[in-house]
Amino acid sequence: MLQELSLNVLDIVSNSIRAGANLIEITVEVDRERDSLTIEINDNGCGMTKEQLAMVEDPFYTTRTTRKIGLGVPFFKMAALGTGGSFHISSAPKAGTKVSASFILSHIDRMPLGDINSTIHTLITMNTQIDFVYTYKFDNKQFVLDTRQFREILGDIPLDNPEVSAYIKEYLEENKNGTDDGYQI
């Protein structure tokens, strides 16, 4: 198991990157009234066939060649089901893949979300060829970071330029705090 859910997000998005996606949407939604935390990752990568999809939640399924078992998806699924939540993947060849996990927010076994800003910042600055749309919702507030919008402003200045990278870090911090007032999730 991974120590915090933000690491699962990093891991699940690595699958999307390996699948050749160039647009990845990540949504984190906290709803205290419904006592839920939902994480969704949507990519436009190569997708999976019905047969592959049927096997992907099983650790003994992997298309990697460096190791015989795949752990990313089973870990994320266990983390969600362990709280009485739910887990779902849908995928189609060429169309892409959508992974969604719901957690009972107050469940004692729910892993903390942890440093989600670090995950998003790392993904954006280490994969500058990919566009990310990150949506963070907290009760009835939300903010969105869309790298396509950043790129439009930046022209040919890359997202991993040090000043841009620092800007993205602060953008995430300030907007997250403005959305959840620093509530520990």
Binding site: L2, R64, G70, L71, M126, Q149, F150, D160, Y167
Partner: protein, 123 residues
């Protein structure tokens, strides 16, 4: 809250600056394995330490990136250094502290930190 105006200001400041995008073929690439095995054994703090140090020390010829499973799960976190024209160096069982040594010794002074390399650790 952070506005997009600030991003526009960054762009305006940078425009006209030359040498902003150096040729990637001349760059040293530092690659951190970030598959499940890497992440579980602490690759994220290693990656963050590397990219922060490379930025704060202004090593503009070094690019830090992430990759999937390198295939040596029991030696994660793994960091590979690719320098143009040189053999790949593989560092294993890395920590943020060891990573900073690699930045100072290897990336800045050009001296491989042998004690953390896979060759040394495997014996």
């Amino acid at each position: 809250m952070k506005s997009l105006e600030e991003l526009k200001a960054i762009r305006e400041k940078m425009q006209g600056q030359i040498g902003l995008r150096s040729e990637s073929s001349e760059k040293t690439r530092v690659v951190v394995g970030m598959a499940t095995c890497g992440i579980a054994s602490g690759a994220r703090p290693v990656l963050n330490a590397l990219s922060d140090a490379v930025q704060s020390k202004g090593l503009s010829n070094v690019q830090v990136t992430m990759t999937g499973c390198i295939g040596l799960c029991q030696y994660e976190p793994i960091v590979e250094v690719f320098e143009p024209g040189k053999d790949k160096v593989t560092y294993v069982k890395m920590t943020p502290e060891k990573a900073l040594e690699v930045v100072d010794q290897h990336l800045i002074r050009g001296q491989v930190v042998s004690k953390y390399t896979i060759a040394e650790v495997l014996g």
